[in-house]
């Protein structure tokens, strides 16, 4: 279990992590989401004892990382694709790590097999592609057979086959009762992988919730309705407890109500409908909307507002 309590990290004037509190429970995959520059990597480095927090604590099973006996047997971490000396072979990189923990040499070949790098074990890592580097990093993370895994953007640089492989690996690890904490800036990637999600923006906690709940809340169905009798329909819908927002062109966006129910309601009230179309709110757009104010590096043009923006507002973000 990872417990982050009131964690703060400042670099001069910049606050990278701003009073962050959350826990990561064992036996499931916890996604760590946020736009680029939100402080995900910094938080992970603080948990791993690589950086010192300005204030607050980050504990692993109740202990700071630096106090863990044989830390690689507790925690496996993947930080950057290449935290290796390019002149050293993959095998020797894993060898020195194994030696610090008293992990037997046979385990090195096991993890190399597991990540599919056995054929290049004796090659210097300078010739490795981004994907191979990522696989070597995962091999290093699994070396000590740890109960807890911290993976920073593990799908980076992987081909589609590699992405499926890492997804399945994470699911398998979580099913074995391990704690898996994985960061990503891609909401859709997390939606298919994570059981729980922690969302941050500009170092602050935005959401800490089950993935199902997050999807239900932020990516619910929205129905677009056009009618010349806007006010009448709105009143009727409000009576049903639906959330209604008006578009600039006079159309209504209705949350929390099925299209069929709206059609029946309109018929019962004698309201003419010109359009009745369910809009599937994209999770990615919901996530962008949720973190918009916290994005550090905007593109030159504003983010186009889709129907999902109404969904996010309606959902009470």
């Amino acid at each position: 279990m990872i417990e982050v309590k009131d964690l703060v990290k400042r670099y001069g004037e910049t606050t990278a992590v701003d009073h962050l509190t959350f826990t990561v429970e064992p036996g499931r995959i916890t996604g760590f989401l946020g736009p680029n520059g939100a402080g995900k990597s910094t938080t992970m480095r603080l948990i791993l004892g690589l950086d010192r927090p300005t204030s607050g604590t980050a504990l692993i099973d109740g202990m700071p990382y630096r106090s863990l006996p044989d830390p690689l047997r507790y925690v496996g971490a993947l930080l950057e694709a290449k935290a290796v000396h390019p002149g050293r072979t993959a095998f020797n990189h894993l060898l020195y790590l194994a030696q610090t923990q008293g992990v037997p040499k046979s385990r090195i070949n096991e993890v190399l097999d597991l990540v599919g790098l056995s054929a290049v074990a004796k090659k210097r890592t300078k010739g490795f592609s981004l994907g191979m580097g990522q696989r070597l990093g995962i091999a290093a993370a699994l070396l000590g057979n740890p109960r807890l895994l911290i993976l920073d953007e593990p799908v980076n640089g992987l081909d589609p086959e590699g992405i499926v492989w890492i997804r399945n690996l994470m699911k398998q690890l979580a099913a074995e009762g391990r704690t898996v904490f994985v960061s990503s800036h891609l909401m859709n990637e997390m939606a298919v992988t994570a059981d729980h999600v922690v969302v941050i923006g500009r170092g602050r906690l935005i959401a800490d919730t089950a993935m199902d709940e997050f999807i239900a809340r932020y990516a619910e169905n929205v129905v677009l309705v056009r009618t010349p009798q806007t006010e009448k329909l709105r009143e009727a819908l409000n009576g049903l407890g639906a959330t209604v927002t008006s578009q600039q062109d006079g159309a209504l966006l209705v949350n929390k109500t099925e299209a069929a129910a709206i059609g029946e309601l309109a018929a019962a009230n004698g309201v003419v409908l010109h359009e009745l179309s369910p809009q599937r709110g994209s999770l990615e757009e919901a996530f962008m909307e949720l973190t918009r104010e916290d994005v550090q590096f905007h593109g030159p043009a504003g983010i186009p507002t889709g129907p999902a923006s109404g969904a996010a507002q309606g959902g009470g973000a």
Binding site: R45, P71, V75, L79, H85, P86, R88, H93
Partner: protein, 275 residues
């Protein structure tokens, strides 16, 4: 496959990575990169090659030397023998010492290292020990070998022997000097964390700053220069103290002190700074 339990060896629960294991791991790191072999090869070639070459040229040009030079060589041949290979040879030790520490940072490997060994001081201590021992051993072997080579080439003109006063100390001293120099460079590599910057700094400290200090006027220049790290350290290779300010062992002690202070600062920053 992931669930296979990994057998724990004895002594794993002492709270921190076991020191013996850190030594093994640092030895693996040292021997599995090419720069180690290249640097030691450069050290051996420079020390043996330049000792032989320079002493040989001196013997060849003996008749053209001034009587004063000849007398100086006859009186005090040991520093000439030891110094001729050391001037360039020591740079190989400096480069390797810097690389052992700085390459962890320039490659990003330091993060892998510190995740495995989060007790940073132990890691640095293991690194210092593992690097210094081979430098000392090779340094001593080279020191005796270069003395033997220089002595035999010079034999037709000048006689010197390990049994002459202070000669054994000077020869052993060259190996010790190389060992401390390696640590000195390692400390600077650990402080600066960038290979190019650290190598430049070490070379400036070893080769450039001494002649600069001698430009300072009169007695001040003499004293400043005597206390500079490598100048002080090389006193141990002198038979007759060069400037009468520091004796052989005092000078070596000053060099050791410089190294200890730099290492202490490097260790303090290692613990304090973000990796």
């Amino acid at each position: 496959m992931v669930t296979d339990a990994i057998p724990r060896t004895a002594g794993t629960n002492d709270g921190h990575a076991n020191f013996g294991r850190l030594l093994t791991a640092e030895w693996t790191k040292l021997r599995t990169v090419r720069s180690t072999a290249w640097s030691f090869a450069a050290l051996i070639i420079a020390v043996i090659g330049f000792t032989a070459l320079i002493i040989f040229l001196r013997v060849q040009s003996w008749s053209q030397m001034t009587t004063a030079d000849q007398a100086q060589t006859r009186l005090d041949p040991v520093p000439q023998i030891l110094g001729s290979g050391l001037l360039l040879g020591q740079l190989a030790v400096c480069v390797l010492g810097v690389l052992v520490a700085s390459s962890e940072y320039t490659t990003g490997m330091i993060r892998s290292t510190l995740l495995a060994a989060p007790h940073r001081l132990r890691m640095l201590a293991a690194k210092c020990i593992v690097f210094t021992i081979p430098v000392l051993i090779i340094g001593e072997v080279l020191s005796f070998a270069s003395y033997g080579i220089g002595k035999s080439i010079l034999a037709s003109k000048v006689h010197t022997s390990l049994s002459d006063p202070h000669v054994t100390r000077a020869v052993i001293g060259e190996g010790l000097y190389l060992g401390v120099l390696g640590l000195f460079a390692l400390a600077i590599g650990q402080l600066i964390r960038h290979t190019a910057g650290a190598i430049t700094t070490v070379i400036a400290l070893v080769l450039v700053i001494v002649p600069l200090a001698q430009l300072l006027p009169g007695n001040i220049g003499k004293h400043v220069s005597a206390y500079l790290p490598t100048n002080a350290g090389q006193q141990i290779m002198q038979i007759y103290p060069k400037d009468q300010i520091l004796s052989a062992w005092q000078g070596f002690g000053v060099f050791g002190l410089w190294t200890a202070v730099l290492l202490a600062i490097a260790a303090w920053l290692l613990v304090k700074r973000d990796a």
